[in-house]
Subunit: 220 residues, 2 copies
DNA sequence: TTAGTTATTTTGATTAGTCAAAATAAACGT
DNA sequence: ACGTTTATTTTGACTAATCAAAATAACTAA
């Protein structure tokens, strides 16, 4: 059985490779896991021995089919737990990532299935992140962001890709939750500022960096 | 923050001392934790250094006030999680102990409180084991068992003190769940057999050992 | 007492995961 | 092509938790 350390390595590899194809660098992984690069090298070699990853020395790592399977299962647990914490326990949107970080390693597949049923088989978590299916399918649709979308087009927010409590609180405070309608009224690359407007509300200015973390879809 | 290993040591000390007063032997602890005695000695010395226990060499250990506080919190998590798994997720009575074993170390105090509210502040878990209060009060009432109660007196089952899946399945199969009414019709110390009868049902024969794990209360 | 049994403690080794810092390889700019 | 910067790997050391087996202390029965 994979330890929670192993589960974390695999989960972050999945998240960093946007679907699991490209090589992930040791540095990026070290950064994501908050350990020094040397530790990652050591661990990745062990993971290669156990068949979870393929290690290309001095280039990077990639998940094997088995590693990807484990990673998707952990991610499914993480996101379903987030749904549970927000929808059933009514916890704060911004706090649940930290909680789920612990719980994702403690819940069994049995509990996972029942939780999924209880929640009505949701497709995304409260931040709009897609939940991998039981069979390991993960929606990999590429969305526009408030930093890349067409100006003045009516949009619907679908997902927030930064799970830090500060950013989520900012998003919540400004009513930019998934499901809300907005449009970008102005974008200035030089100043790095984006102005967005909700259907009923005053204009809201945010940085390109922040805007890039808010994924949107054209309203159909 | 206490590791889950530390939490397990403290929890089992609490369970083995029936309330936290008497000394617990190294052997009993080793048995309960499924480690060799030498490991327990080492660990207990560390726990004494951190102020969680008082170690009397060659005699045993006892929880300090702080150790007891931590242990009660873990036990509260364990039992509330069991309630959740059975009452909300409708999981099998006999399987939830194993699940809760993992979850008790992963849920935060915040989640614990909300779970408690969601479940309506239950006083016992599905096996009848008392749930420590948030303030650390644990019902320590001493109950009779089917092995010690008065013969022919009408009783109500309040608690099952063996959490092994096999025993719980046996109990469930024979309708001896907490809340049920029974009486002992015969007890033979020589053969070591107890005969019990539910209000509507045929007589049921069980060993003294098994009968001693079923706690009862006179029906008032 | 004295010998023998039993519980506990000590000692030395092992595994998983980590860090600091030195060594190495690759990439980059001129 | 050459030195410099940057990423990665290696090396040696450390902590938490464990086991096997030897040493010690305590209890027990004659």
């Amino acid at each position: 059985m994979a330890t929670s350390t192993v589960e974390n390595y695999l989960k972050h590899m999945l998240l960093l490779s946007e679907g699991g194809e490209e090589l992930v660098s040791m540095g990026a992984l070290a950064e994501a896991l908050a350990v020094v690069p040397g530790t990652v090298t050591t661990m990745v070699k062990a993971l290669a021995d156990s068949g979870h990853v393929e290690h290309r020395p001095r280039q990077g790592v990639r998940l094997t089919a088995e590693g990807r399977r484990v990673a998707l299962n952990v991610l499914r647990k993480h996101r379903l737990v987030e749904c549970f914490l927000v929808n059933v326990l009514k916890m704060d949107w911004a706090a649940v990532d930290t909680e789920a970080e612990q719980l994702e390693h403690a819940i069994s597949d049995e509990v996972l299935d029942r939780l999924d049923a209880l929640l009505g088989h949701p497709e995304t978590d409260p931040h709009g992140d897609p939940i991998p299916s039981r069979q390991g399918k993960l929606d990999s649709q590429v969305y526009a962001t408030l930093a890349t979308c067409v100006v003045e087009k009516p949009l619907r927010i679908v997902r927030i890709t930064d799970q830090s409590a500060e950013f989520l609180q900012f998003v919540e405070h400004n009513g930019l939750l998934p499901g809300e309608s907005v449009r970008v009224t102005e974008r200035n690359l030089a100043s790095g500022l984006v102005t967005a407007k909700k259907t009923a509300g005053r204009p809201l200015v945010l940085s390109l960096a922040a805007a890039g973390k808010i994924l949107v879809q054209p309203t159909r």
